[in-house]
Symmetry: C2
Subunit: 253 residues, 2 copies
């Protein structure tokens, strides 16, 4: 489990601090060493230590205020971006066995929403994959993912019972940024059948667009989770807020 030295000093320091926090060396509420102490300890400059701390703040692990020692925030263990993009990786990281069953795979013209989210011209084709995802054999999520053609052509060659995302990464794709929209919807007839729940049961819906480092969309997915079994957690603060709330008005349907 030895963390890689991530090619930069401040990252390896940040990783060590994170590991120490996870291991309980610094409990929630505890005060961390000062910048100068760590600078001595790692033989680094104060600026480098500050970069390491900034990374921890960005992950919502610690809080920092002028004049006072930094303190550890409590709450759930943090997850990496990679764990959010791949259902399989996430499942393993929380100690469960992921699996998947393909419900449908289509190669067709993009819908309006898909074209917009994937930044495609009107009428462009997409690969659209519907899968039921399971934890320890029990269905917990329906995944409806649209891939633009260049990505989709890779996807069709991948075993869909495992992790498509991880395979795409091995093929050289880099998932770098994502935008998630989360709301609650009633299960449709198909949802109910696939997840083995009542029709109109509450589902947690996550719509997600993932892009590569240069901003090119790689996938647009609408995932529906069993409402009470899966939850998302976000941390934010005055200085650091990637969360927003939206009102769409009453639905017509």
């Amino acid at each position: 489990m030895t963390a890689p030295d991530n090619a930069s000093l401040y990252r390896s320091i940040a990783d060590e601090l994170k590991a120490a926090i996870r291991a309980g060396v610094y409990a929630p509420g505890a005060r961390l060493p000062s910048e100068s102490e760590l600078a001595d300890q790692y033989d680094a400059s104060r600026g480098t230590i500050r970069q390491a701390f900034a990374a921890l703040v960005a992950d919502g692990v610690i809080s920092s205020r002028r004049g006072a020692r930094r303190t550890v925030l409590g709450g759930p263990r943090l997850q990496s971006f990679a764990d959010l993009v791949s259902f399989s990786r996430w499942a393993r990281s929380v100690g469960e066995e992921p699996s998947g069953r393909v419900a449908r795979l289509e190669h067709r013209a993009a819908t309006l929403v898909e074209a917009e989210q994937l930044a495609l011209a009107e009428g462009a084709n997409v690969y659209h994959l519907t899968r039921v995802r399971m934890l320890d054999g029990r269905p917990v999520m329906i995944e409806r993912t649209a891939y633009p053609e260049p990505v989709g052509e890779l996807v069709v060659g991948i075993d869909p019972s495992g992790s498509i995302t991880e395979r795409l990464e091995e093929l050289g794709l880099i998932f770098a940024d994502a935008e998630h929209t989360i709301d609650a919807v009633p299960a449709t007839a198909e949802d109910a059948r696939l997840l083995a729940v009542r029709s109109r049961a509450p589902l947690l819906r996550e719509r997600r667009r993932t892009t590569d480092p240069s901003g090119v969309p790689l996938e647009w997915s609408e995932d529906r989770y069993l409402g009470q079994e899966v939850a998302f957690t976000v941390r934010n603060s005055v200085n650091r807020n990637a969360l927003s709330r939206w009102h769409s008005g009453p639905e017509v349907s």
Copy 2:
């Protein structure tokens, strides 16, 4: 609407850049000026410009990679932390008229969850307020908030039809950090009555703990939104992830 000069150079630069992005000077996908250009323009050092950009990255407004100019990310307009903590402020920022109706106000012993979330000793008292929140007169959310005693004593003196949070801020409280847990639940009988929906209708549940700058909990709230009308959006990336996903296992109830 002239932004305050936030007392530090990098903040005012960040604010100007944000305003320019919002105003469309830099459209989504467009490339921003380089660090050296801005350093000349603002007569600041490169480090200060980098701090300003770091703030934009933290807000999920731009993306940044070594070697390439920074680019503007598309997507929804960003909101401030303040808009998330206060329903009233949020409503006004999205152009709707907020209101509230008190359903219940209690002063009682904390439940186990409340005591844990507010870091109170077992048996300590809390003030617990249940309100129905409305947009343009239509109910969209039920707010069930527990305040620790020092805060609650202020709350009872505040007109509950308006914004309690904003009033608390005027009284000197500082809401600095928050942790949000989002899932979907079926409406209980009480929920259904208060929101005028069917029982077991899907609701989006947000559980939120807000703390002051030193980490002292100020409130613990369980808010339930009409499922299809309100959504939360989160942006994250490989370097910056405050979002995580959790599995709680099948519910017994």
